[in-house]
């Protein structure tokens, strides 16, 4: 198959994949390789400033497929809740300024998490007493999820007002304790259900959801409901990296069945961009242009044939 630019008309480079690149370098690198879009991370945007970031993308003629990331909505205390709402309102304004409708939300973990990937905080004194009351609220995943639902409701009017959609991202269950208490696509769609599809959507990231026995049905549901906001692709690699967050790989290097998953997303009517978001130290240590070329090659081999 000829490597013409049209092949890449839906391929987006997420800036987390080329971590060593500044936002300008990533935008120019994507454009150079014939990619029409980038997925941006807020830290990269903040480095150059919001207005400059928007101008860099526009000048290159690219679109922004999504902004990563809002969320972290699980605080139980008033100060924590206020801080989360303030930060997410800022993220919504940033997404609007950057011209993307999709703001990816990673919703946060349990209060017992001392840090992402860190050990659980000890039980409060008395909380484990034999015959005592309920367990530790900091480990109560049901209550934590209820707080996420409350915060989404808080943010929907502001997001809607600015034409931005909250795109809920289920993370792999191995991150449920410390990073995101949304673990499945079905759960994300349930949380989105009370709100219009234009206000709250979901992210399908192959790394996080490939294992889900309910995946085909939930992708189809996401299509029917018009809520698939973002399709992110990368592979599930074993052995896991010492930091499991970095265990992602190029499509084709791991276990994900991209043929089947891509067809499910296609059949759900998704016509948006396909973002490649890979956290991987070895890839981060590789020259950016080489990374983008590999991404384009793997996309053509493993995703594109099943996308249309």
């Amino acid at each position: 198959m000829a490597a013409d630019a049209a092949d890449l008309s839906r391929l987006s480079l997420n800036t987390a994949t080329t971590k060593a690149w500044t936002l300008r370098e990533a935008v120019e690198g994507a454009a150079r390789a014939g990619l029409p879009a980038v997925g941006l991370w807020r830290d990269r945007v903040h480095e150059v400033g919001l207005a400059a970031a928007a101008r860099i993308v526009a000048d290159a003629g690219l679109r922004v497929s999504s902004l990563c990331r809002g969320g972290f909505l699980t605080a139980a205390d008033d100060d924590g809740i206020a801080a989360a709402l303030e930060d997410n309102r800022a993220a919504i304004l940033e997404a609007a300024t950057l011209g993307t409708r999709e703001l990816v939300f990673v919703v946060g973990g349990l209060s017992a998490a001392t840090a992402p990937g860190g050990p659980a905080a000890p039980y409060p004194t008395g909380g484990t007493a034999s015959g005592g009351p309920a367990g530790d609220p900091a480990r109560d995943v049901v209550a934590t999820r209820a707080r996420v639902a409350d915060r989404i409701a808080d943010l929907v009017p502001f997001a809607t007002e600015h034409g931005v959609r909250i795109a809920l991202e289920p993370l792999h269950p191995m991150f449920a304790a410390d990073r995101a208490v949304i673990s499945t696509l079905g759960q994300a769609l349930d949380l989105a259900a009370p709100f219009p599809a234009e206000a709250v959507g979901v992210v399908v990231d192959t790394y996080h959801v490939w294992w889900d026995p309910d995946l085909e049905r939930q992708i189809a549901r996401g299509g029917v409901e018009g809520r698939i906001a973002c399709f992110q692709v990368c592979d599930w690699i074993l052995p896991l990296d010492a930091d499991p967050l970095l265990s992602r790989g190029y499509m084709g290097d791991g276990y994900v069945d991209f043929a089947t998953t891509t067809r499910w997303v296609r059949d759900a009517g998704y016509t948006g961009d396909v973002e490649v978001e890979i956290f991987n130290q070895q890839i981060w240590d590789t020259a950016g242009d080489e990374v983008v070329a590999t991404i384009a090659d793997r996309y053509r081999r493993h995703v594109l044939p099943h996308l249309t």
Copy 2:
């Protein structure tokens, strides 16, 4: 609370927790600590021989809460299928001889897995051709699960004939590629559904299922259907161990909300044993009697108050 034996009337020591102990040592250690039951692994049974193992347990006056493990049903080739059926029929006979009804099944991973925890096999030549046919059958998790269903159907008559129940264990999704394509309790119950509850049940292991947003509902369903064959407890520890299989910890050292989960299992009508199964190098390096004492202490603090 007094540490009387009655407190421990449902606590079972899984022999994987005290890995340095022989079967006899584990049985005698459990009995010494006042535990009424053990969960046995086949390798420990084979070391002493089946008849001797059964006698050791009976002589100590203990019961066998479960036998681990059958399964590994995902082979696609005739020889692999025949070997899996043969090994599982042997496991069924062993369970019957040991006097336990519950044979835990870990169903196996994708054919692309080169080893548990190992990298994915490369794609077959041509399988990734642009515009080519479907992806790689060795990565097809849907077809792999269908083979699991077929093998369960093959084994049910033999298991029923010997009064043994196939107890399907959902493993944490981080093991879906290489160890078990059953990842949720709901999926396990769906696979069990075509068969009588006496023939096919499910395992609830807190380590594997704690994160599941559908857990409460599926535990309740397991109760209504009479299929909860085994309740295993241990904690979800972060950071993950270099070998994630060994990331388990004593109840109370990690993120699991034992109060809530135990109540769900209780409310589902489960009245069986509570097995403690922990794979953890540090615990394996600790003297067995100390491990059993710690298990009993943690059980009394985190599980027992919510069990009745």
